[in-house]
């Protein structure tokens, strides 16, 4: 019954370990990133005063969007936005996950219907496929791609592939194996977030919001 002990470990302690590594790792990296910045000692010279984001006509909005990265790479921006939204919404508001959470700690979040999350999962996987094809086919992306990029893409999509297979009972005779692989894949991804390319999540929030630059999205009153 050696394998059974392994399954129990994956479902029990490793799940807790991965959550702890994920949250503490994020806090640690946030702290490290933030520590690289310092209060801006200079009077902020703002060559391009920020227009109010709210208000303005639809035409204004379209004009602003067309001048941004959205206007240059619309397909990529749409796909990556959908990809990241699904990445967060699908697992967090999934009934199965929330039931496990309720059993474990007594509280859970709101859940969408299973069929809706299933649709998000499929959409996510198509976005992932788009990234994969882009990496292989577009010369400029290929030029800076290394094995780590494929590995990271695999790490991000593996929980969704295995979650999909488990939900649809594709390999019904081996459900236990599939769900164990799913849990393992999810745990590996969570633990990888603070320490791999996934750390771009922290980077984005620190450097687009905290640092003063012509592209800052927030107050941007610090420098580095």
């Amino acid at each position: 019954m050696e394998t059974s002990a392994l399954f129990d470990f994956i479902r029990g302690p490793l799940a807790w370990i991965s959550f702890i590594v994920f949250f503490l790792g994020l806090i640690f990296q946030f702290y490290r990133f933030f520590n690289l910045t310092k209060k801006n000692p200079h009077v902020i010279y703002n060559p391009r005063p920020r227009k109010k984001i709210t208000g303005g006509s639809v035409q204004d909005f379209i004009k602003r969007a067309s001048l941004s990265v959205f206007g240059v790479n619309p397909v990529m921006v749409i796909v990556t936005t959908v990809f990241h939204l699904c990445l967060i919404i699908a697992p967090v508001f999934l009934l199965a996950h929330n039931m496990l959470l309720k059993n474990a700690i007594g509280i859970s979040l709101f859940s969408f219907s299973e069929s809706f999350v299933d649709t998000l999962t499929v959409i996510f996987l198509f976005c992932g496929l788009f990234f994969l094809l882009r990496r292989i086919l577009v010369a400029r992306v290929r030029a800076i791609t290394d094995w780590n990029d494929y590995f990271i893409l695999f790490l991000a999509t593996a929980p969704f592939i295995t979650g999909y297979l488990a939900y649809h009972q594709t390999f019904a005779d081996h459900y236990r194996l599939v769900i164990s692989l799913h849990i393992l894949a999810g745990e590996l991804m969570l633990m990888a977030v603070p320490f791999t390319k996934f750390v771009h999540m922290v980077f984005f929030f620190v450097f687009r919001f905290v640092i003063e630059s012509e592209y800052s999205l927030g107050k941007g009153d610090r420098t580095w």
């Binding site: 490290r32 990133f33 690289l36 990265v69 240059v72 790479n73 990529m76 990556t80 577009v138 010369a139 400029r140 992306v141 290929r142 030029a143 800076i144 791609t145 290394d146 990029d149 791999t196 390319k197 750390v199 771009h200 922290v202 980077f203 984005f204 620190v206 450097f207 687009r208 640092i211 630059s213 592209y215 800052s216 580095w224």
Partner: protein, 127 residues
């Protein structure tokens, strides 16, 4: 492992420079999604028929990124290639846009500074 010929390169000094900026540079290199969304923001990329070698991320990965990867153990030929990436292919105009907020010009500027210290820089008077 084959020994690289680092003759003429003060690798200790290169390492020292790399260590000075280690945290920020390594985090920036790690965070880069390798997505090339920065490409069109570079006027040289646009002016050179969208040659992939002009993508801003290509330029910092193959300069400062390479130096960190090799931990400063580079030969003169490699420094020459880095020189092409950070001088020939970049005017350091600081207009590149990265959705994640990666400071691309700073990375390229550091690579330039390290090259210059090692006597590798464009010689407009001779070339």
């Amino acid at each position: 492992m084959a020994k690289i010929n680092t003759a003429g390169v003060d690798t200790e000094r290169v390492k020292e420079r790399l260590d000075e900026h280690k945290t920020k540079m390594k985090l920036s290199l790690k965070a880069c999604a390798h997505c090339t969304l920065c490409a069109e923001s570079c006027f040289l990329y646009m002016a050179r028929d969208k040659d992939p070698k002009y993508t801003p991320s290509y330029k910092f990965l193959n300069s400062i990124g390479l130096l960190y990867k090799k931990k400063g153990m580079v030969d003169k030929v490699t420094l020459g290639e880095i020189r092409d990436n950070v001088w020939e292919r970049c005017a350091l105009c600081t207009r590149c846009y990265c959705p994640l907020g990666i400071n691309i010009p700073e990375m390229i500027a550091l690579a330039r500074s390290i090259c210059r210290e090692q006597g590798v820089y464009p010689r407009f008077d001779r070339e």
